[in-house]
Amino acid sequence: MMRKITLLIISAFLFTSCLKTVDMDLPYDGDKIVVNAFMQVDSVVYIRVTKSEPPGSNSFTELDKATVSLFENDQEIPVTRKVINGLGYFVSARQIKYGYNYKVKATADNLTAVSAVDSLPQQPMVGLPSGFVGGNRIQFKLQDRAGFTDYYRFRIYLAEVSGGRPVPVTPLKVRFDPSYNNEFIDIFSREYYVTNIISDERFSGSEVNVVMQTENPLPADQYLVVEVTALTPTAFKYLKSLQYQGANVENPLVEPATVFSNVTGGYGIVAGINSTRVPFKAN
């Protein structure tokens, strides 16, 4: 990012900048319901409902007594609350399918009712992943749809075999050729990311050979998984703005970033995604 260069240069001739903790009363917008759900095609929906907190908080109260409804077009799909890995989710009774709109509503005592709606994207066409043992390159083919603007999220995992199939376990840090995302500065810095989010602006309608550089050499005899996730425009806006906010939190050169939300009456995101996972082993 530009920030890195700027701060590098500024710090060089300003010797040092100073940091101090300050006590400032920041106004709080009040408690609101927060709904988060990324809806994966052909999967049940896991809806997380929490409450917003005063600015600066980093732990959030779950609204376990909230009333949550999920609608497939206008037809309600029942949800039940389950605790998974120590966190509570409202889980749909059945899987959701491509071609429908899905709406989530939530209410809780003394809080404004919220709702959000989104559709589901088509599955991305990904294939032929490859890499060399000891190498730092992973390549795969991605066929983009012509005539549409598509949005993607890329991740690479180290996988372990469970139940006879490779299951993603550890996300790997990788970086892109800047021709996809214009992050020129990443090319000389040592920045690697577990998540890369782009639009198809540079390759719409084409089959592209995506190359990613991993931070560490590829292991022998272990499965790797290429995960390419198609995103709806809603999901893309949310993830991209969330990434931007996170990347610039200490950047004095830009205005604080707003994170997109499609939740009416509250905060959070309800958005459709569709992941393709392709396992392979490095040669």
Partner: protein
């Protein structure tokens, strides 16, 4: 006949004779009504009706011109004035008749240049006036003056700050061209061409700040570097960005609304090092004028300010030079004659030195390898030649080139955990931006009252970054060869013709014609992939070059209606053509001055300005990655209206100046990005769909008190102001404070020259906190589709709700800067050593606030970043 009757008759006879002889005088009331009659016919009529005899020679005095006259019971003197004043006839009562002669020309025009007697450097703003008639004028931007006075004026006085006043004795009564040479006053050890203007009450111009270069150089320095733009910020109504950043904000305007002119040529990005220093080498600058409002009609194309910077012309008589070395930079200046008293040159160069301190840090941070290189520096070079062809013609050729550059060359072998070579990585990354400016100007004096300047110029700003990246594994057949490039560029070429015309002592007229062609390349990317195992690709995005032609025509008249009443009337008419759209604007400019008792002048102004180019920016500061774009059909030109009222006075001895001004400014069609974008964005063809249009306003009061002469000089500047913006989708359409809104801003500056070698300067600044946007809530982020998937941190453990903009304020800021200089002379060389301390009492002024994660507590804490703590610097310079 009775004795009484006889006496009466005698008395009447006695009275009759003188009444016949002196039957009329100047107070005699006459009535005449004639239409389209020759002058001699009117005279004949007066002769017949009132016995007024006229004597004149028909061969010499032209009496055939037709006149209309319709008066009833009007004194004869007045009738004579009406008949003869306009017709070039002089009248005089001699005995019983009025003798008519041809009116002699009573005025004459003295014109020429005023210059430094030692170097030949033309002096801008020098005053030349007649003490008897109390009329005068000032030299224009090229040192030219033209003064029309009564023919019997025998003495003129020429003054300029830092120079001995000169009494100019006129030996004859003819119009003539006179070159005036002033001698620098002895008090100043190092003679600098400094700026001076006539008394404030004698100028109709208001909202103008003039910066003497002597003061700019004497002010405390940041990192040893005197800076013109930073000096401007100490003036009321002018502020910088947040601490350390030098983007100028004038009366609530944004930096892109400033027209910065270098010898008349616009400079797109006047800063180095991300805005910390300006591109103007102070050794090259002769004169700086900043207009905050009341813009003269000759300026146009930006809304908020005009910074008109004139460079030195070069010494016509002797060679001079200066070298200096500071913490930040090294620089030199050389000037002298090429052909004595005919042609001179001046060259300056400057290079920053901070990569010397930065390379070790970069090596550590970026792991460059043994063959690696790191450069990060800026440089600028100025060159100027001026040649005198004749007393009427003079030519200037100037060039400026400056760049900020960074290069990272990395060539490194990576090893695996067993210490075996894994792969080689080669990277050549470059980042740079800069301005290039060239101009040729021709001064020509058509006649004593008409001066012209023709300028042809080219200006460009570019930003460029590119990389070459190669990867080759030692273990496996895997290689990569990538190339990427991103650049943006704004260029313009212009032809300007400006005229300075003094038709009458009461009128100073300027008019001209400007044409400028703009070319924009707003963010073009090019990528190539030469990986051997993949098909080669070479792709260019957003390759477009929109261009627009800007034409403008202006005229202004500085009109002395009475000694106490002056009016400046002007109009700037411009058109911007960008296919298929043409925008036309008529921008009135009005100035008014009225003298109050005790030499206080009250001034009023109204200006309308239009700006046809926008700057796309997503930042808190003014960055070189910002993109200049022309107006489109959707995004219309920005416009502003500004009214100002003020009081001003310069004391009789010219030691003190006081000005107090109030203003109100409205802005329309200002733009903002609708969503955040990355730094290397491209202004694609539909960029205008990604911005929102809004409006703004600012108002305030500015007080400036200056002591301008003597060993101790200084100023107090106070600004009380408000600046707002409103956009339909920001803060729900409500008006919100602009990011550089400061309610109070106070600056104290003092400089003292001790008798022996020492100089002391200090500057103290206080300002209210600028607006601040902070989160108003935090909440849990969405992570993944399934809780059974591996946990991938989305980058944030929370989402901060950033809703309304600029609803809070940073803490107030204050800072003291001090500087001590020691000057000494040894033979031909003059030496100076300067110690400056920026932020002398180490005030922790806030630059930025954010939530930092505390590893110990696991909580987030609101943290303040202070960019510049106490910062001393040392500069050494040597002149010959």
């Amino acid at each position: 006949m009775k004795p009484l009757a006889r006496k009466l008759l005698l008395g009447m006879l006695l009275l009759y004779c003188p009444l016949q002889s002196w039957a009329w005088n100047w107070r005699t009331r006459v009535s005449v009504s004639l239409k389209k009659q020759p002058l001699h016919e009117v005279c004949r009529h007066l002769e017949k009706e009132y016995g007024i005899l006229f004597a004149y020679s028909r061969d010499i005095v032209k009496m055939s011109q037709p006149v209309d006259i319709d008066v009833k019971n009007v004194p004869l003197k007045r009738v004579m004035e009406m008949l003869f004043e306009e017709n070039g006839v002089e009248y005089k009562k001699i005995g019983e008749q009025i003798v008519l002669t041809v009116k002699k020309k009573e005025q004459r025009t003295i014109n020429g240049y005023i210059e430094d007697g030692r170097t030949g450097e033309r002096l801008i703003g020098a005053t030349i006036y007649s003490p008897v008639l109390q009329v005068g004028t000032v030299t224009n931007q090229y040192g030219f003056y033209s003064i029309t006075t009564k023919k019997d004026t025998l003495t003129l006085i020429v003054t300029y700050l830092g120079y001995d006043p000169l009494v100019l004795r006129l030996e004859d009564k003819m119009s003539r061209q006179i070159k005036v040479q002033l001698t620098p006053s002895n008090m100043l050890k190092q003679v600098e061409v400094s700026e001076s203007t006539p008394k404030l009450q004698d100028q109709t111009q208001m909202s103008r700040v003039s910066l003497p270069m002597v003061s700019v150089k004497a002010m405390p320095k940041l990192l040893g570097e005197a800076d013109v733009m930073r000096a401007m910020m100490s003036m009321p109504g002018v502020s910088g960005g947040r601490e350390g950043a030098s983007g100028l904000n004038v009366r609530g305007g944004s930096p892109d609304q400033n027209l910065v002119l270098l010898d008349g040529t616009p400079v797109y990005n006047p800063s180095h090092a991300f805005g910390i220093f300006s591109v103007f080498n102070p050794d090259m600058v002769k004169n700086v004028e900043l207009y905050k409002g009341a813009f003269p009609a000759r300026y146009g194309g930006r809304l908020s300010s005009v910074a008109d910077i004139s460079l030195k012309d070069g010494d016509m008589r002797k060679y001079h030079g200066e070298v200096s070395l500071g913490i930040l930079s090294a620089k030199f200046m050389v000037e002298g004659p090429i052909w004595k008293n005919k042609t001179s040159f001046v060259v300056t160069g400057r290079r920053s030195l901070f990569d010397m301190y930065l390379s070790d840090l970069a090596d550590q941070e970026l792991e460059l390898g043994e063959k690696g290189e790191f450069f990060a520096y800026f440089y600028d070079v100025n060159a100027k030649i001026n040649h005198i062809f004749s007393s009427r013609d003079r030519l200037f050729i100037s060039a400026y080139g400056g760049q900020d550059n960074m290069k990272v060359l990395k060539d490194i072998d990576k090893f695996d955990a067993d210490g075996v070579k894994s792969f080689n990585e080669y990277l050549n990354f470059r980042l740079g931006w800069g301005n290039q400016i060239y101009s040729i100007r021709w001064n020509h004096i058509f006649n004593p009252r008409l001066f012209s300047n023709v300028t042809t110029s080219f200006s460009q700003f570019f930003f460029l970054t590119d990389y070459r990246y190669r990867y080759e594994s030692y273990k496996v057949p895997d290689r990569d060869n990538l190339f990427g490039k991103y650049y943006s560029r704004s260029q313009n070429g212009s032809l300007k013709m400006d005229f300075d015309y003094r038709p009458h002592p009461d009128h100073a007229v300027r008019f001209g014609l400007h044409s400028t062609y703009h070319i924009f390349e707003p963010g073009i990317t090019q990528f190539a992939d030469d990986g051997e195992d993949r098909p080669k690709t070479d792709t260019v995005y957003n390759k477009q070059k929109p261009g627009g032609l800007e034409l403008s025509l202006y005229g202004e008249d500085d009109w002395r209606i009475r000694d106490s009443l002056h009016l400046n009337l002007g109009v700037h008419i411009s058109a911007f053509m960008i296919f298929p759209k043409t925008y036309v604007s008529v921008q009135p400019r009005l100035g008014f001055r009225y003298m109050l008792p005790r030499n206080w002048a009250v001034k009023l102004s109204y200006t309308n300005m239009v700006q046809y180019i926008h700057l796309l920016t997503n930042n808190n500061t003014y960055l070189p990655t910002d993109l200049w774009v022309p107006v489109t059909e959707k995004v219309k030109p920005m416009t502003s209206n500004q009214v100002a009222i003020g009081l001003a006075k310069t004391s009789k001895d010219q030691q003190y100046e006081v000005s107090l001004e109030g203003y109100y400014k409205s802005l329309n069609n200002v733009i903002e990005y609708e969503e955040q974008v990355s730094n290397f964005q491209s202004a694609s063809k539909n960029w205008d769909e990604k911005v929102i249009r809004g409006s703004g306003s600012s108002y305030g009061m500015e007080l400036l008190v200056q002591k301008k002469t003597g060993r101790t000089q200084g100023s107090v500047a106070y600004t009380l102001s408000r600046s707002n913006r409103s956009f339909p989708t920001i803060n729900n359409g409500r008006v919100f404070p602009y990011k550089y809104d400061r309610l109070h801003d106070v600056e104290f500056t003092i400089m003292h020259k001790f008798k022996k070698n020492w100089e002391l300067a200090a500057n103290w600044e206080f300002s209210s906190g600028v607006p601040l946007t902070m989160p108003s809530a935090s909440y849990e982020p969405g992570t993944g589709a399934s809780p059974y998937d591996p946990v991938v941190d989305p980058g944030n453990g929370q989402v901060d709700l950033v809703k309304d903009r600029n609803t809070l304020r940073m803490a107030e800021q204050h800072r003291l800067d001090v500087s001590v200089s020691y000057n000494w002379q040894r033979k031909l060389f003059a030496y100076m050593i300067n110690l400056s301390v920026y932020n002398a009492y180490n005030q922790m002024n806030p630059f930025y606030y954010y939530y930092a994660h505390n590893e110990g507590t696991g909580k987030r804490e609101l943290t303040q970043l202070t960019l510049i703590p106490v910062l001393p610097s040392l500069t050494f310079s040597m002149r010959f």
